[in-house]
Amino acid sequence: MSTLAIDKAGPTRKLGSMSRDRAWALRWSYFFLVLFAIFFLTPPVYMVITSLKSSAEISAATNPWWVFHPTLSNYVELLTSNQFLRFFWNSSIISIVVVIVTMLISIPAAFALARMKFWGSATLATGVFLTYLIPDSLLFIPLFKMLAMVQDLTGITLLNRWYVLAFIYPTLTVPFCTWIMIGYFASIPKELDEAAIIDGASWLQTLLRIFIPVALPGLIAATIFAFTVSWAQFLYPLVFTTSVDQLVLPVGITTTLIKGDVFNWGQIMTGALLGAAPPLIIYAFLMDYYIAGLTAGATKG
C-alpha cells in the first residue's frame, strides 16, 4: 500500500526534470540507432548499388557508393541464364520439400512429447534438444562417407544429386521445429483437449482439430524457420553436390559466378541479392511470427 502511494507521488514531484531526461534519452537513442542501422544495412545496400552497375562502371575508379549510370543488365542476364534459374529451382523445390517433411515429422512428435507422458518421453525431449545443438560442420564428413557407401553398396547414386539434400536438411530443421512446437503445444490449456477426449475424440482428431488450429502462430514460425534454414544452407550442398546443374543457390553463386581470379561483381551481387530475396520477402510480411519463433525457441545465433 505504501509503495503504491510513493509510486504515484514520485512522477509528479520530479515531472519536469524527468520528462526532459526522457526527451534527451530519446534523442540519443535515435542517434545511435541510426549509426547501428548504417552498420547493419551497409552490405545489403551495397549489394543493391553494385547490382545496378555495369562492369565498366565497377572497374572505373569512381565513387563506389553511388550509381552514375544505373542499368538492369545484370538482372536481365541472370534471370535469362539457364544456370541461375536452375539453381533457383533446385533451392525452391528443396526448401518446399524440407518444410513439408519437417512439419510431417515434428508436429506429431511435438504433440506426443507435449501431451502424452510415456516411457522415455522426457529423455526424448531432451534428446531432440541436444540434436538441435549439433552443428552441420560436425556431421558433413561422416554423412558424405555414408552417402558414398550407400552408393557403392546399392548402386543408387546419392552423391551429386540435389534432391538428396531435401532428405538431409530435416536433420537441421526437425529438432528445432519440434522443440518450439512442444513449447506452443504445452501452452495450450489442458481443459481444451480433455474436453475433446471426453467427447470421444481420438488422439489424432484432438491434434488436427484442436492443437493445430490453436497453435497456428507457432506452426507458421516453425515453417518460416524450416524454410530459411534450408534456403540458406551452404555446407551440405557444397560437400554433396559438384555438377553445375545440381547446385543450389548459395553454392551456385559462389562457385560459378567466380571464374578463376575474375570476379564479375555486378553479377555476383545481383545473384546474392536475388538469393536473399525470398527469405527477406517472407520476413517482410511475417516478421512478427519470425520474431516470436526466435524468442520462443532460442534459435541458433
Binding site: L138, K145, V174, T254
Partner: protein, 312 residues
Amino acid sequence: MADVVVEQGRHVSSVRPRKRASLRNTLGRKSTVAFFLTLPLILLIALLVLYPAFFSLYLATLNKAMTKFVGLGNFTFLFKRETFWMVVKQSCIFAVTAVIFKALIGFIVAHFVHNIPGKKQRKWRGMLLVPWVIPPAMSTLAWLWLFDPSYSAFNYTLSFFGVGPIPWLGETFWARFSVILVNVWYGAPFFLIMYLAALKSVPDQLYEAAAIDGANWWQKIWYVTLPMMRNIIAITTLFSLIVTFANFDIVRILTSGGPLDTTHLFATWAFQVGIQSSDIPLGACVSLFMVPILAVAAIFILRDVTKRGNEA
C-alpha cells in the same frame, strides 16, 4: 484427468468381441499412439544424426585410404602439426571475441530500441534484424566485395580520412579482424531480438521504484535490468558460442582460411583436409575436436532447459 477418462473408455470397449477389441486396444493405447507419432523423429535422429556421429568416431581411427585401423594415429599426427594448434587458437579467439561483441552490441541496441515509443519500434526492429534474415553465404559475398583489395569501398571511404589502404583479407591481423567483424554483423541482431524480448518482460514498476530511490542510469542497468535478464543472457550467449565455434560459411567465403591458414576454424579446416584433400579420416578427426566445447556448452544450456521443462 484425461487419463482416467481414457482408462474408462478402454474398459467399456473391452466388453466387445475379444479379437477386434484387443487390436483396437493396442492401437488406441496412449503409449502405442505416442510411439507411432514419435517414430519418424526417432528414426531421423538415429539414422542421420546419431549414426553419423558415431561413424565419425570410427572414421577418425582409419588411415587415409580407409583400409587400415590406425587407432589414435590421426590424433597424434594432428598434435604434431603447427597448423592444428593455430586452428585451435584461432577458433577460440574467433568464437570468444565474436560472441562478446555480439552480446555487447545486442544489449546496447536493444536498450535503444526499447527507448523508442511503441509504433516506431517495429520499424527499427525490422530494419536491424535484416542481417540475420539474409542467408550468410549471400551477405558474406557482399562483405567480400566491400573488402576487395583493388576496388574496396571501405578503403575508398577511408582514404578521405587520410587512412591508408588496409589489406583487409591479405594480412593475418586484418583477416582475423574481418571474419570476426562479419560474424558480429551477422549475429548481433539475434542477441538484439532476444534481449529486447527480455527487456519487455521486465515490469515497469521496478524501474519506477528504482527511479524514486534515486538510482541513476547505470544503477538501473546493474541492479534491475541485468538480474532480470540474467537467464536470457546466459542461454543466448551459450547458444551463440556453439554456433560461432562451429561456423563455416563466413570464413570459407571470405578467406578460405588464408592468409597462410591463419583464419581457419575447425569446420573450414576439416573441409579442406577431409573433402578438398580427400583425407576423410583426418577431416573427421579435426571436426571431432569441436565436441568437447559443444558438450560443455550443451550441459550448461541443458540446466536451463530442464528448468523450463519442469515449469511446463
